[in-house]
């Protein structure tokens, strides 16, 4: 056993309480997810049985193929990707710009403006629905992905998050950039933004998930099976008096699989590895 291995092992032993707590907590987090997968392989009768039957007698892989017969999965998947990408890019750009200004620039009415920005989170979301619908209608964007994307790219939440990120960065870097002759845009783009990558990716992840699962707004804006995103498509599978849970679960497992892969492959780059590289940027 090399020294290094021994050292790593010793550390893990010291961390044993943390490992135990994290595993227990992690299982609580994981459990609905596993259950969902099991439900997606059950019959509807098994899902509805009393007491619930956790493990299906026979794995119903046909639930997955049935999804394709019930909704135009691939085209709705494509719409979801489009909407999610545009929303995420839009939010990341707008929020980082505004968040930087709110954190680092001094201008008249800054705090008031920021307070008013946060206020948009404080009103029940349902109150926006009809006015926003009328605006989208007057912009002639009903039934378009533009209409689905628009209100959501302006985010108080993302701006707040980016503001906090910029606030916690050293002022000296900016000062140095200024002395180097950078204008505010260059300071932001070349110095500060690279440092904010962890928070940027946090905004991006949250926006991706939120946009991917968003139901009410795209449901209002899109009407046809070939222009609605997957979240809406899956929701149409619910019946008035009873639902085919198994198919719905299978559809939603298929819908979230790519997000899962995306996050899994990205998470190292997303959360880690930035503290070091950021300084170089």
């Amino acid at each position: 056993m090399s020294d290094k291995t021994r050292r790593v092992l010793a550390t893990q032993v010291r961390y044993l309480p943390a490992h135990i707590l994290l595993i227990l907590g992690g299982l609580v987090m994981l459990f609905p997810f596993v259950w969902q997968i099991l439900m997606s392989l059950s019959t509807n009768a098994e899902i509805q049985s009393v007491p619930p039957q956790l493990i299906p007698e026979q794995f119903m892989w046909s639930n997955y193929t049935d999804v394709f017969a019930k909704i135009p999965f691939l085209s709705q998947f494509g719409t979801s990707v489009l909407i999610t990408v545009v929303r995420t890019v839009g939010q990341v750009v707008l929020c980082s710009l505004a968040g930087y200004a709110f954190a680092r620039m001094r201008f008249r009415g800054r705090n008031l403006l920021f307070g008013l920005l946060l206020a948009i989170l404080m009103i029940p979301g349902q109150a926006y629905l009809i006015p926003q619908y009328q605006i989208i209608k007057s912009l002639n964007l009903l039934e378009t992905w533009g209409g689905v994307v628009l209100p959501g790219i302006f985010s108080a939440f993302g701006t707040f998050l980016m503001r906090q990120a910029f606030l916690s960065m050293p002022k000296e870097l900016e000062e140095a950039a200024r002395l180097d002759g950078c204008n505010p845009w260059q300071t932001f783009w070349r110095v500060m933004l690279p440092l904010a990558k962890p928070s940027l990716s946090a905004v991006a992840i949250v926006t991706v998930l939120w946009s991917w699962n968003d139901l009410l707004w795209p449901l209002i804006i899109t009407s046809r099976e070939d222009n609605m995103p997957l979240s809406v498509g899956i929701a149409t599978l619910a019946g008035q008096y009873s639902s085919d849970w198994a198919i719905m679960m299978a559809a939603s497992v298929m819908a979230m699989a790519p997000i899962f892969v995306l996050f899994f492959s990205m998470q190292k780059r997303v959360i880690e590895g930035l503290a070091a590289s950021g300084v170089k940027g």
């Binding site: 620039m105 920005l117 939603s252």
Partner: protein, 310 residues
């Protein structure tokens, strides 16, 4: 480019007025966002404010100005105190998610910890599953007839455990648990990225000073995380006051226990979309904004005492 005079003269000592605080720069940075916000959010809020002084028919037509009648009606509603109380209780309980997430994130990001990727994925999972699936699973967990929770309670000798989802009071606890559970994944992501921003040298220095793990946590980690913690606290409070989806998802709209679990937003929804009283609903929405606005302003005012920015 910048010929106008500097507007910000409140610069802290030792920092001269920065050139970026002058002229059109702030406008260029904030403008794009504010235009969209004005169109898609301020306009609806202003129109909502106007509606709150009117009565209309069910579809917003037939508008009549009624002054502050809707607000008088709201403040004299017999169910306002309980809705307010439920909302405050819920918000208070789900705030526990913040310290819980700090502990979890700090453990995940312990230097040299193995399995970090796996842990991150685990705590992130709730965010991936479909909301309706999650609610279904937790409803089965809390089910009073055969749920896992009551089976465990019976196993440890509690012979008559409550019907969590259909007993007022307990129902609120179940909803709050669901609220905490669903916000942890998000909180952990935010805190993890905050933790990554803490230079390792600080820990090394602390450790050279003889600080033990707890001291490092309380003197290095937590203070440097305060901007993120502050952010999460604000968001959690704002989110708590918006309690509605959780009630619907966990209890369902026809659960008898929902009568005693109604939240402010539930009142809003019910007034505007069930009772078809749009003016009354709009007044409740404005009441919520003012209330949360005050609470948030107090938090911002209080942050000077505990939030450490660079």
């Amino acid at each position: 480019m910048t010929t106008t005079t500097a507007t910000g003269r409140q610069a802290p000592p030792k920092t001269r007025t920065h050139p970026m605080s002058v002229g059109a720069w702030p406008l260029l940075f904030v403008g794009p966002l504010l235009i969209g916000v004005a169109i898609f959010y301020y306009y609806p809020i202003v129109s909502n404010l106007y509606t709150s002084f009117t009565t209309t028919n069910a579809f917003g037509g037939d508008v009549k100005f009624v002054g502050v009648d809707n607000y008088v009606d709201l403040l004299t509603r017999p169910d306002l105190p309980s809705a307010l109380g439920n909302t405050l209780l819920y918000t208070g309980v789900v705030l526990l998610a913040v310290p819980l997430s700090v502990v979890i994130a700090s453990m995940i990001e312990l230097p040299g910890l193995k399995g970090r990727t796996l842990y991150r994925m685990l705590f992130f999972m709730p965010y991936l599953a479909m909301p309706v699936a999650i609610a279904q699973v937790w409803r089965i967990f809390f089910n009073g007839n055969f749920g896992l929770l009551n089976q465990m309670l019976k196993a440890i000798g509690i012979s008559d455990p409550p019907y969590w989802l259909s007993t007022p009071g307990f129902a609120m606890l179940a909803v709050a648990f669901f609220g905490i559970w669903s916000s942890i994944g998000f909180n952990v992501i935010i805190l993890s990225s905050g933790l990554k921003g803490i230079p390792p040298e600080l820990y090394e220095a602390a450790s050279l000073d003889g600080a033990n793990a707890w001291q490092q946590f309380s003197r290095v980690t937590v203070p440097l995380l305060t901007p993120s913690i502050f952010f999460l606290t604000i968001m959690q409070v704002i989110g708590g006051f918006q309690l509605f989806d959780g009630l619907y998802a966990m209890l369902g709209p026809t659960n008898p226990a929902i009568n005693e679990s109604r939240s402010l937003v539930y009142l809003f929804y019910n007034e505007a979309f069930v009772q078809q009283n749009k003016g009354g609903g709009a007044a409740i929405a404005m009441f919520i904004v003012v209330l949360v606005g005050i609470v948030t302003a107090i938090q911002f005012w209080g942050q000077k005492k505990w939030v450490h920015y660079e």
